[in-house]
Symmetry: C2
Subunit: 311 residues, 2 copies
């Protein structure tokens, strides 16, 4: 593939132990950079900048490499890999974190090599906004930078989170994060406020209610893909990011039509992610299935307007 559509992700590669009403997984391959990479790799070549410990299983590394993911920026540091343990209750709406072991992630500072600095598409996954800013200082004129964050950083470093928002092209937030960062419960007003504070564009993820894209020029809404076999919501947001940025990288477009279809591609990838434990479905899916879900989403919103009050 052309180097013009390369995507760089800076985030976490982790070992997740997850329990949901439908089963559990122990030390499964997880982390924002992993989910993002499996998702985006269906669209364009992906390189990871992250850190793992000496205990990181070789088979996990192979699963990423099998999808063509460039792991030259995946550092191995002395110590143990970042671990997260969580569970979901009956509604699967929120993860309850039982344990977070930062391990080697505690001292991580992303160092991009020359090739990665020139990646035209960049995803700053949910890490300390200080680290996201370090990445922004290293990259050279990317075409599009997408960022993510979480309530933890919004509560502790709101100024830094805002600084990232102003420097990236599109910022991903979930509903609660958007409300917390804007200090505004009404979602349409929260989006307006984030733009007024200097964000260029925001995507607000609303889980089963879909997602909203808002910039000064565009307001666009996509429904969620109706997943009946919901199994494990972990990684839905990063998989969304992978489909969104992946479609833009693959098409090379950044116009309104492409942004809208990118929202559908993100939604399709998130729907696949949550149908299995760990990224299993994301790995085994293919172009036909992804294109099928994007078309189904389009079919759920598309219609031709006719005049209502014309004589």
């Amino acid at each position: 593939m052309s180097p013009e559509n390369r995507i760089l992700v800076v985030g976490s590669v982790a070992l997740d132990s997850i329990r949901t009403p439908y089963g559990q997984a122990v030390d499964a391959l997880g982390g924002s950079a992993s989910y993002f990479s499996f998702s985006a790799s269906h669209f364009a070549p992906v390189a990871v900048c992250a850190v793992v410990g000496e205990d990181f299983p070789k088979e996990h590394r192979l699963r990423l490499e099998d999808r063509g993911v460039d792991l030259s920026g995946l550092e191995t540091a002395p110590g143990r890999t970042f671990r997260w343990r969580g569970e979901y209750m009956a509604e699967l709406a929120h993860a309850h974190t039982l344990e977070t072991q930062l391990n080697v992630f505690a001292d991580f500072h992303p160092k991009l090599d020359a090739k990665h600095r020139r990646a035209p598409y960049v995803f700053l996954a949910n890490i300390d906004p200080e680290l996201q800013l370090e990445v922004l200082d290293q990259v050279r004129r990317p075409r599009l930078v997408l960022s993510d964050t979480m309530n933890y950083w919004i509560a502790r470093k709101p100024d830094r989170v805002f600084e990232v928002l102003r420097r990236v092209d599109v910022a991903l937030l979930n509903e609660e994060e958007a409300r917390a960062l804007a200090g505004e419960t009404h979602l349409a007003r929260a989006a307006d406020k984030l733009l007024a504070e200097g964000a260029n564009a925001v995507i607000i993820k609303k889980g089963e209610h879909g997602a909203l894209y808002q910039s000064r020029e565009e307001r666009f809404i996509t429904p969620a893909y109706p997943v009946l076999a919901l199994t494990d919501p972990t990684g839905a947001g990063d998989s969304f990011a992978g489909g969104f940025l992946g479609l833009l990288a693959r098409s090379g477009r950044g116009d309104g039509e492409a942004l809208r279809q990118a929202m559908a591609a993100g939604t399709a990838m998130a729907s696949l992610a949550i149908e299995s434990f760990s990224p299993a479905r994301l790995i085994e899916t293919d172009a036909a299935e992804i294109e099928g879900r994007v078309k189904a989403l389009h079919g759920m919103v598309h219609y031709d307007l006719f005049p209502i009050f014309g004589s």
Copy 2:
């Protein structure tokens, strides 16, 4: 206008006293049939079947008649008009009922005259499902019947609510009502279950998250119109019903494209209803404003698909 697009609504005409963080109203014109009528009357002629007490103010009657609403089926019974007193907290998500006085509504039984029995479009607003069934026994081959209900009836008379669902063309429910009636928290599964139980089509209203239409043939989602001047959510659902049924009656169509645009028309009318106390905005709006909101909603979801993986 042609008698072919006449709409009959059977529901409540009430005096509402409402407090929200933005102000209050005392003994304002309210009730499901009032909101529905103001909304639908922008699209097609509406007749009301309801009951009020001897204290019902003449100016409220005139406001309905000024919109061309046929009040020949609005019975005046000895006693006081149905009254509702409620308040909304900061998020405006749920009404807290402070007092309900059924008054003359307690003994209401809808009696349709010959003209009303032949109405081609019928809205069974939120009343006792036994009364809704009485109306269904009286009407003569309507083209389309839309029903509404509420948790109160779902908890007390679920079998009767299901009987109505099976006999109408489209049933309106909000999110909690759909979950409660289906006994299923996952919304896509709840909609499937209601269809499996015999509903022909359901519309699930999700407030600021928009609305879902689902039948065996169609699944369609419309976002909410982003209202920044949210003032009083009372009547949003009945105003939605008025726009939905109004558009279908006006266009005379029942195909998928019309159903989709009817969802947008319903959404536009709901957005107007909640911008003022009582139905003030619904009354003063006009064709240009309604058509403008429908177009804006269409613009928020519309895009042309391009192939993602085509070579």
